[in-house]
């Protein structure tokens, strides 16, 4: 239920306007929002029509359902797919035809207006299709290989320039017994 509410409230934040997918960050505090220059985000589209882009974003949310992950991160998948579509007409066709199929399977030929569960059921019917696989395969890299996702999931990325973790918590787990020094020696002190 919470998921559904979040999903619906989130929907209000995605807006479409002539070749641009835009949105507003939900998070107002935390590392993630600190990283964003403004709370509004926008993605200029070079190849995909607006409604196709938005449907792809929502399809990606169904395939990789991270309830609290911002649309702005999912939009990075759309961005990469838009770029591939611009370079390769075959990809563009797969994406446009895929969204057409989502719509065809929906009431009033509009998948985006279906409720969350019905949207998901329709996505399920597309598992294994070129459309589904293109989005899934792209997402595996695009969704999880960016600073915003890292901040969201808590991954800290590059550490060399910060001196690694030798003095920054590589042993800070404190909810289990400490191994003895014969097993895990103390760190070397210069």
């Amino acid at each position: 239920m919470i998921n559904k509410l979040e999903q619906e409230s989130k929907r209000k934040f995605i807006k479409l306007s002539g070749g641009m997918l835009t949105g507003t960050l939900i998070a107002t505090s935390g590392l993630f929002s600190c990283m964003a220059p403004t709370r509004r985000w926008s993605l200029p589209l070079t190849s995909l029509p607006d409604n196709v882009a938005e449907s792809i974003l929502m399809t990606t949310r169904h395939i990789f359902p991270h309830a609290k992950l911002e649309d702005a991160v999912y939009a990075l998948v759309v961005k990469d797919l838009d770029n591939s579509a611009a370079k390769d007409p075959a990809v563009k066709k797969v994406l446009i035809d895929g969204v057409a199929m989502l719509n065809k399977k929906s009431k009033n030929n509009n998948w985006l207006l279906e409720n969350h569960q019905d949207q998901y059921t329709i996505v399920l019917s597309m598992v294994g299709s070129d459309f589904f696989e293109k989005i899934r395969g792209t997402s595996i890299v695009s969704l999880y290989n960016n600073d915003m996702a890292w901040a969201h999931f808590g991954y800290e990325g590059s550490s060399f320039e910060k001196g690694g973790y030798i003095n920054r918590g590589f042993q800070d787990l404190n909810w289990l017994p400490e191994p003895p020094h014969s097993i895990s020696p103390q760190k070397y002190k210069i």
Partner: protein, 522 residues
């Protein structure tokens, strides 16, 4: 750097600059032998390494096209990436985690110890642990392996704390922070480990041993080495007496070159090494070089692996600190009462978020997948490294039609698990799962093997020429001045991470080659 003439037929040519080739080059140069070291990849450094999984992967990994077949899941999920190994100066010593374990005495005698196993092509090594022990000593000292030579162990990270607490609950007695070729304090002109957490991406501290910044510069300093990077070998040539006499390669400008040679040593890792021998077939050697036994490319082993990841209520942040931060060795024994022969090690492992997404369950999606990553901060992980059995049908062959960028047939890597491998993996998955549950895991994840990092056995050593490709010195049975100098030599896989053994064999081989040269036997 020395400049060795292409027509200098008195030179030793080594193909591949990783653990085997890089070490062999240095050891020969130290003994006054002139060496041309050919490396297909380009040269990176601690400065150019990047703390970024995908970027580093493009920088270091061997990405030339390969094909796969067989029942292993890698063939389905990563059909063109059977192995996660490197194409760069230093080879996969840039990427390895640093675990440096000696093969156990009984593992050198796999056939005698385990007996004949149906479907397996088991054989005893033509050397014993006693034969190799002095060279293990030298290798451990050279590489600065912790818990040897008075070098303290590394401090364990949080991922290790979870492993250790679980090991205690399980009653395991042999759990510690490992024998690692990573400096726990500055040594040998290299820094101590700063716990960056990017061991797999090339150690930017240079704390982890890699031939890139140890053996190769040491060899260079003798004035006896010429390193040629960006040079992909196409073919080893031979004279009418059937002796190797040169190496044909494409240089970094795309030009074909022929380097004359007195001795040729192949150390291209267990896919490229047999591929090169097969691609070098001639009228005299129609099945490829050194292949009278028909064993070139066969008995491909990759260790019985898999990972167990577990999520907890509280943070672990396993990515902080050394990737292989500790080990459990209790299961590495041979105890057939468990239902399989051979044993396995359990070692901590971690992946950054990008690679966790790619590898936790390739092809997966949906709630379970998303939930695992939602708990990424609270995740701990371990990797299974077990002995897999040699099978003749697991092999590297030349693809009948697909060619690489140089027009050479690409290698096909065929692999099926032996029933013993499956039973062992299941046992290890169970133990790993129980271990994490014993310390409060919420969810556990059985992660299938990654593209192979330990590639072994495709030109194995054997006492008799009919059973293998090379003898106990890595000298091929058929061509006395052609040597196998990498993990392809392994007669069986044993349960241990292979690098230390590859280095020990290279040191031993260098002594043998230098002796053969000085007595004009080759």
């Amino acid at each position: 750097m020395k400049n060795i003439n292409l027509n200098d037929s008195n030179t030793v040519v080594i193909i591949g600059s990783g653990a085997g080739g890089g070490t062999l080059a240095n050891e020969l140069c130290q003994q006054g032998v002139n060496v041309v070291l050919l490396e297909a990849g380009s040269k990176q450094s601690t400065k150019t390494f990047v703390n970024d999984e995908w970027k580093s992967f493009s920088q270091l990994a061997w990405l030339d096209n390969r094909s796969t077949s067989g029942g292993w899941r890698v063939s389905k999920d990563f059909p063109n990436l059977p192995a996660w190994i490197c194409k760069t100066v230093g080879g996969s010593t840039t990427h390895w985690a640093g675990a440096s374990l000696r093969i156990q005495a009984h593992e050198f005698k796999a056939l005698s110890t385990y007996g004949s196993v149906k479907g397996a092509n088991l054989l005893d090594w033509p050397i014993t642990l006693d034969d190799l022990a002095p060279y293990y000593d030298l290798a451990e000292n050279k590489m600065g392996v912790t818990r040897t030579n008075g070098i303290p162990g590394l401090p364990g990270n949080s991922n290790f704390k979870v492993m250790y607490a679980g090991a205690e609950k399980m009653g395991y007695k042999q759990c510690h922070t490992g024998r690692m070729a990573i400096n726990s304090k500055p040594r040998d002109g290299r820094a101590g480990c700063q716990q960056l957490g990017f061991c797999f991406q090339g150690c930017k501290m240079g704390a982890k041993w890699s031939t890139l910044y140890t053996e190769i510069p040491a060899a260079m300093a003798t004035g006896n080495l010429e390193l040629r990077a960006g040079c992909h070998v196409m073919k080893i040539q031979h004279n009418d007496k059937g002796l190797a006499d040169g190496v044909l390669y494409i240089d970094e400008d795309g030009k074909q070159q022929l380097q004359k040679a007195r001795v040729v040593c192949v150390a291209g890792n267990s896919i490229e090494t047999p591929r090169l021998l097969l691609n070098s077939a001639t009228e005299m050697f129609p099945n490829g070089l050194a292949n009278s036994s028909d064993q070139v490319g066969r008995n491909y082993m990759r260790h019985t692996t898999g990972s167990v990841y577990a999520t907890f209520d509280k943070p672990v942040r396993m990515w902080r600190g050394t990737t292989m931060a500790g080990i459990i060795q209790d299961e590495a024994k041979h105890d057939p009462s468990r239902g399989f022969v051979g044993g396995y090690e359990l070692e901590t492992v971690s992946l950054g978020l990008p690679f966790m997404a790619a590898f936790i369950d390739p092809g997966a999606w949906g709630k379970k997948f998303a939930n695992a990553l939602d708990n990424y901060e609270n995740m701990a992980g371990l990797w299974i490294v077990g002995e897999d059995l040699p099978q003749e049908s697991n092999r590297i062959t030349l693809h009948p039609s697909d060619k690489d960028q140089h027009g050479l047939p690409v290698p096909n890597v065929h692999f099926d698990d032996h029933p013993n491998d499956k039973i062992m993996r299941e046992h290890a998955f169970e133990q790993g799962t129980k271990l994490y549950k014993s310390v409060g895991a919420k969810e556990t994840y059985r992660v299938p093997p990654y593209p192979s990092t330990h590639n072994l056995g495709t030109c194995r050593m054997s006492l008799h020429a009919k059973d293998g490709v090379c003898n106990k010195h890595g000298q091929t049975h058929d061509i006395k001045n052609l040597f196998i100098s990498d993990g392809s030599q392994f007669t069986t896989s044993a349960a241990e991470n292979p690098t230390l053994t590859i280095v020990a064999l290279a040191i031993r081989q260098a002594q043998f080659i230098a002796n053969q040269l000085s007595t004009n036997k080759i």
